[in-house]
Amino acid sequence: MIQEGSVFYLKGSEDRPHYHIIVFRDPLNQDKRLIACYLSSSQTLPDLTTTFQPNEDFFITRFSWVKYRNAKILSEMDLHLFNHVGNVNEKVLAKIQTGLRASLSRVPREVKDLLLQWDQDRLFGSSKSR
């Protein structure tokens, strides 16, 4: 089951994998699009918004950071190109989600707009259930 926090790597990149995290998905589960970011361990020009030390989660073996600038909208079909390796722990997911919200000026406008639309949906969805 694909969920917020699912971790993937691109098939064919096993020798030097970049781990992709599903950061947000539609709270009403009607939109099949997903917002994903990947981690980099490059020491040059890192984005220090959200960084990880080795062992903060099962797949993090070295200093890593989230490349929010390359945040993408993926479809569930796109995930056939990736191998699923597990799910991040809640603390790590919260860090990445908070970091993405703090980086909205740096992500493509379409990613920002989709997230804000889902926030609206979440708000109205919960209002209706009261």
Binding site: L10, S42, T44, L45, R69, L74, L81, S105, R109, E110
Partner: protein, 209 residues
């Protein structure tokens, strides 16, 4: 529809098609510049500002904005695909792999590029706010600058190349731009690996469609 669907079959032996060029994003940036300039932008200025924009993004983040091909010309570097895209908008359209004429018009006599729909916000979702702010800063800087300042600044960039007498242009790989701007070999290797990964990822995602 993406712009890429428009240029199939227009590739010549002189101008190759760069499959990783973010054409829609480059169109978005040009569209944004047109809107900032009352829809009248000089061809030279547009090509140079988009180069300045792209190399700023490259040097600050490690990845170019458009993934185009840099070439050194006598009057300073350009992004080849962007220049081809702009050139494709004139009535005397040269054979070019990129066709931006559905979106822009290039008036040959005045070298002025305009959007066909002045209010169009073409592919705007592909630009981040940081990127539109960067484009705004560039246009503000050079719009009020005395004539020749943009050309002078371009020619004073660390990566500027004085071409040989019989040389029309020379390709400038990203590695060269990094090197000329003070990055070490180790850093360049790391940055190029990151660029290669993003290209690999995008290629797989785009080919899936």
């Amino acid at each position: 529809m993406t712009a890429k669907s428009l240029y199939i079959g227009r590739v010549t032996e002189y101008q190759y098609l760069n499959s990783v060029f973010k054409e829609d994003k480059a169109i978005a940036a040009l569209s944004y510049l047109c809107r900032l300039t009352n829809n009248k932008l000089n061809h030279y200025t547009a090509a140079k500002l988009l180069y300045l924009f792209d190399r700023e993004v490259l040097l600050e983040t490690g990845e170019p904005a458009f993934f185009g091909t840099y070439y050194a010309l006598p009057k300073g570097p350009i992004i080849s695909e962007v220049n081809n895209g702009i050139s494709s908008c004139s009535e005397i359209t040269p054979e070019a792999p990129y066709d931006w004429s559905p979106y822009f018009t290039l008036e040959v006599a005045t070298h002025t590029i305009s959007q066909k729909d002045p209010d169009a916000k073409l592919f705007e979702g592909l630009l981040s706010e940081e990127e539109t702010d960067r484009l705004t800063t560039l246009i503000q800087k050079y719009r009020s600058a005395p004539k020749g300042v943009l050309e002078s600044d371009i020619q004073n960039l660390p990566e500027h190349i004085d071409l040989l007498e019989n040389e029309r242009r020379r390709r400038m790989p990203y590695q060269f731009v990094f090197e000329r701007n003070g990055f070490s070999n180790e850093q360049i290797t790391e940055l190029m690996q990151e660029i290669a990964y993003e290209i690999q990822l995008r290629t797989k995602l785009e080919n899936r469609c």
